[in-house]
């Protein structure tokens, strides 16, 4: 069993060092206390009603010892934690910046070359990256266990964190600060790519890294878009209630809108709702969906509509 998740950033090992140091110290003290507790309990178990017990009220030497030693150890833990913390909080000057925006309940990443992705973060192997982060609505928290990084995103304020990914692979990104109904669905993936693969991705050759390729049928592509763009956080495909209307049997349905009118869900309405979500909001739902204009291509929007139509 793995005690800690895979260590995939430059300082992950150091964080584990702190963790292990505290854990080992804790175990030593835990064993000391538990062994004494159990030993005393059985050794001095009551034998008769009138057992002799000594009148011991204290021992200054002992008490000084167990005040001073823990104090020193606690200071050491503090200092060790501080040293690693300092490194975690100080991004190197050459770190590549990525802008992160979190909103209920998706992650949006904007890269320096103008690209932007949703719920997928692409970084290059062995190249430090700095996340400049902002929340749109409520608190969120960027948490990648494999990198041992976590930082809250706060509306109205920029926060930052950095890491240097040292292992190629795919890692989970969680939202760690409670942010409402879709909190536990606010997940993303971090792709750490070799320099070659990364530059191919940067140039726009997406086949290499992501799976949506023209070889796929529109329905399959739409399904991919559904899971990749965080639609699932609000729109179920099995008819269960969520933050937004379910996609199951949505196409062709008559929905009553907030202004009291009714509309039949057709291709045009679906397209409009993806690109300008606030235009016609279905009654009983909050107007909280973000716009996907500029994030999805026309082809991808078409594919998504085909997919929604397929959910009977």
């Amino acid at each position: 069993m793995n005690w800690v998740p895979e260590a995939a950033s430059s300082f992950a090992g150091k964080v584990d060092g702190v963790l292990w140091f505290v854990t080992v110290l804790s175990i030593v003290f835990f064993i000391l206390i538990t062994v004494l507790l159990i030993y005393f309990s059985f050794k001095y178990k009551r034998k008769t009603e009138n057992d002799y017990t000594p009148h011991i009220t204290g021992n200054q030497t002992l008490e000084i010892i167990w005040t001073v030693i823990p104090s020193i150890l606690l200071f050491v833990i503090f200092a060790y934690g501080l040293i690693v913390y300092k490194e975690m909080r100080t991004p190197p000057g050459d770190a590549v910046e990525v802008n992160v925006t979190a909103k209920q309940w998706i992650w949006i990443f904007k890269y320096q070359n103008g690209k932007s992705t949703i719920n997928e973060l692409f970084v290059q192997h062995n190249r430090p990256v700095k996340m400049v982060m902002r929340a749109d609505d409520v608190l969120h928290s960027f948490f990648v266990p494999a990198f041992r990084v976590k930082q809250d995103l706060v509306p109205g304020m920029y926060t930052q964190l950095w890491f240097n990914p040292t292992k190629i692979g795919t890692y989970d990104l969680f939202c760690a600060e409670y942010c409402g109904t879709g909190h536990s669905q606010m997940l993303a993936k971090v792709y750490v790519m070799s320099p070659e693969a990364f530059s191919r991705w940067e140039k726009g050759d997406e086949e290499e890294t992501t799976t949506f390729a023209s070889t796929k049928s529109p329905e399959e592509l739409g399904k991919d878009m559904y899971s990749k763009n965080g639609c699932a956080a609000c729109h179920s495909i099995d008819g269960s209630a969520g933050v937004g209307p379910t996609f199951k049997a949505l196409y062709g349905k008559n929905e009553s809108l907030q202004d009291g009118t009714t509309i039949e869900v057709d291709e045009n309405y679906l397209r409009e709702s993806i690109l300008i979500p606030q235009a016609k909001v279905v009654q009983g739902f909050a107007p909280s969906m973000p716009s996907f204009k500029g994030i999805l291509t026309d082809e991808e929007v078409d594919a998504l509509i085909v997919y929604i139509k397929s959910l009977k």
Binding site: V132, Y158, Q160
Partner: protein, 99 residues
């Protein structure tokens, strides 16, 4: 029933004097803030004067001067905690880095 023990009874005259001092301090604080306008130390001066007034009220009107030490502790400790709340929160709010 026992007599009202060795408690201090402040004479009326003292209150009148204290009131006059408080009035004078009120005039001073208004005058300093509105006419002299010391700029950045305005806040500082106003708070000093307010604290003098508050101390006088506590000591004489509220008879803190004649209270036992434990009352003093419980009168001052909240002030210490308040300064802690302001101080330590400020350390956070005004030292955040902007990336």
């Amino acid at each position: 029933m026992s007599e009202n023990h060795d408690e201090h009874i402040t004479p009326y005259k003292t209150y009148i004097i204290i009131w006059l001092i408080l009035m004078a301090l009120t005039v001073i604080t208004v005058y300093v803030a509105r006419e002299i306008d010391l700029g950045s130390i305005n806040l500082f001066v106003a708070m000093i004067i307010a604290s003098i007034k508050a101390t006088i009220v506590a000591l004489f009107f509220m008879h803190l001067k004649y209270e036992d030490s434990i009352t003093w502790v419980f009168a001052l400790y909240p002030l210490f905690l308040l300064s802690l709340l302001i101080g330590l929160t400020s350390i956070d709010v005004f030292n955040r880095i902007v990336p």
